[in-house]
Amino acid sequence: MNQQGRPTRGQTVTQEVPRTFTGNRALEIGEALIFETGRDDFTGVDIDPPSPFTPRLGGLERQSAIDLPGLSEPETMRHYVRLSQKNYAIDTGIYPLGSCTMKHNPRLNEKMARLPGFNDIHPLQPLSTVEGALELMEELADWLLKLTNMSAVALSPKAGAHGEMCGIMAIKAAIAAKGEAETRKVVLAPESAHGTNPATAAALGFSVRTLPAGPDGLVHPDAVKAALGPDVAAIMLTNPNTCGLFERDIVEIARLVHEAGAYFYCDGANFNAIVGKVRPGDLGVDAMHINLHKTFSTPHGGGGPGAGPVVLSERLAAFAPVPFLKRDGDKLTLVEEAEGTQAFGRMTAFHGQMGMFVRSLAYILSHGADGLMKASEDAVLSANYVRVGLSDIMSAPFGDKPCMHEALFDDSWLKDTGLTTLDFAKAMIDEGFHPMTIYFPLVVHGAMLIEPTESESLVSLTQFLATLRDLCFRALRGETERFTGAPYFAPRRRLDETSAARKPVLKWTRPEPVVE
């Protein structure tokens, strides 16, 4: 019943969907760029001009125009709220991006990070005025060390890839301290590794020797043995690996690596699968970054900010970069200068992603030792539930064995359909799901890597599986257009990425005035 007293009745809609004047589709509203709607002579902030004074700019006053539009607050709200509505998010549905770990972001974390005692303090205030901040960093560091059973932690790296840099730098410093800088110039990485691993090693002057994966998706000790030599500085291994599998021979691999005088860097991107279940320090790891945004739920924010603290073994601890915390009895201080220490240097200005430290600690305290263990177990349980729910229809490259926190499929089951992994992913969008990670890891053809995380209810998982199974059957039945034309219902149809790269348009430019 509506308020006018006229009962609405379902109509049989047979006609084609009309085109609207605006191009909008009800709640789906197009939004211009701020540069097309804002005015350079308007501001949405009330600022009183200063009293007259004599500037001391040394003659460097800006002469050039800037061209920045201003918007009132109502216009601003509408612009960004409308834009936000064009995004998929964990808060709108399952976000099964394998390797990226899109778990729920508790709002308590946001609330804690916004306490003025954390978000309104300056990194260079006198240390006597920020004792609570240092204690928070120490408490987080303590948890990270105990969860990993490692000796030291560098908190400052700004993201996972930055943490990789930090870990490999520590290894490079340790090698140099042993006088082996000139001989150990190679880093081993499996072909299934994240692209950041070879990129990090290469950026720091190492050449990369690629390790083959076995037919079971695992790195085998024989392959490592064959690749090791006096020229090897380190191995970079992800565990659980990017195929979603626990590296079964990891302890043996660590032993071989250490025997050869090299170091074991573990890419901790998938630590979320084993927190509270397995401690990397017990496996022989020398350095591992922890993506706080993946494992400990700080929000991904559309691509950052992240945070990538690095835990280090006894053998590398002394080389940790500045700043680091130092406790003398009751007194907690921050060592900010590398001089006089073995620290290899500095990763960034100030002390790291404090806002992320607060959120992570809120997550860790909320879960506790029991909850962290349970979260890992649920993540693995859910991934296996997905694996089993699809394995009779999609193709799993490594057979029926259990996975860890993510289930990997390839595209061989699509072989006779003429469809690609990308087509399948885009059809998922029309069903209201964010696609899984596609075409990664590279070792599997047309890879589809599904990570449901521990945040999904059984109802959600069941609906997800039912939808994917339905799409699979449609694909196999030859309903090609549903896939090749997808997405039909998203704010945009498929976007032309090729021409975007060929003739890049990277900023808005004012259109030339039309001359009559």
């Binding site: 760029l33 920045l68 995004n87 017990d282 200005a349 349980l381 976007l495």
Partner: protein
Amino acid sequence: MRYLPLSSDDRFDMLARIGVATIDDLFADAPAGALLKAPLDLPLRKSELEVERRLGRLAAKNRTASEGPFFVGAGAYKHHVPASVDHLIQRSEFLTSYTPYQPEISQGTLQVLFEFQTQVANLTGMDVANASMYDGSTATAEAILMAYRVTRRRKALVSGGLHPHYAATSRTLSEMAGDEITILPPDPKAEEDLIAALDDSFSCLVVQNPDFFGNLRDLRPLAEACRAKGVLLIAVVTEIFSLGLVESPGAMGADIVVGEGQSLGNGLNFGGPYVGVFATREKYVRQMPGRLCGQTRDSEGRRGFVLTLSTREQHIRREKATSNICTNAGLCALAFSIHLSLLGETGLKQLALVNHANAVALAEALEAQGFEILNRSFFNEFTLRVKTSAAALVEDMAAQGVLAGVPVSRLLPHDGLDDLLLVASTEINTPEDRAAFVAALVKGDRP
């Protein structure tokens, strides 16, 4: 556990469906000796209320920038951020989305990045900007690596006016990458002769403006000298508000502009997360690090945005990538962009003028008391010479309720600069704050 939706019954049913007896059967590949059978001996889960109490106690031990007169800067600045900014960045669809790998359902994030890139390019006076970096210091270090790639020379020259943390970050990355870097000694009065130090073996010259000590530097003669020797001029800006009042690095001839964008939209956060900006000339775009968003069309011809030029990036190029970076500072860039959309050119210029006016008023009040300001020019921060150790003085003034600034010796402990204090003043400072500063200084600064 409030964040875990599965019930014990669900778990039981799921294990049965999977065909295993216990959860540990799924961890069968973990070495038996390493698999923990029970939770670690650490505190157990806590309610929201308990966590709030615990973290609230820690937060309460810190003294916030809003509690009293506050003049701390040196690369992180306290500005007033409009309430709508934090509200908007907490929209679920911005906060809890991932990198826009599926552009059709990420147009919100992508359009924001496109607008951000345009704002940064216009602000710095450059052709193109990327979708943001971790922060100003890492952006600087990456710019130096980019200059090595562009010029194929492997030696950088860095001004003594560069923020010491930026210099240390750049030194670490360059040396670890096997490149040379020459960092000139600290230069509090902007007296160094960079042109004389320059020769054609250098890939780049890195100059901060306003510099670490607050001095404004004319980049034009440097740009000319760099051009003559095939050296790239990298301009560093740690206070983005300065661009509202000071000539843009692009207009003064910089080839790469990097900076810290924290002042716009982002709180102090004890040093992070912040947002790095990175802009350059069109011809170098394919050597840039970081993400780029570009405009394109969808299959119905409508305008849309995608991540582009990813053939530079690690997930495609692996060991041949321009950088190992795979995130930007998305949410901080969003805050930056919203704040700047509210300000617009008019508001930014006005606010920059207020910042400068407040700093000038403080400098004049100090000079009236006989104190020496080292700077011939400055924007909203300057270097004050004090009679005693600046580090001790800052503690003394903190006890008097004034957070007075950053002792230069905190960042440069070995350079005999113990009597220098960096003082920043933004729009947050009132005449009463200034009076309190002067009074506390006069009281505390006794040799």
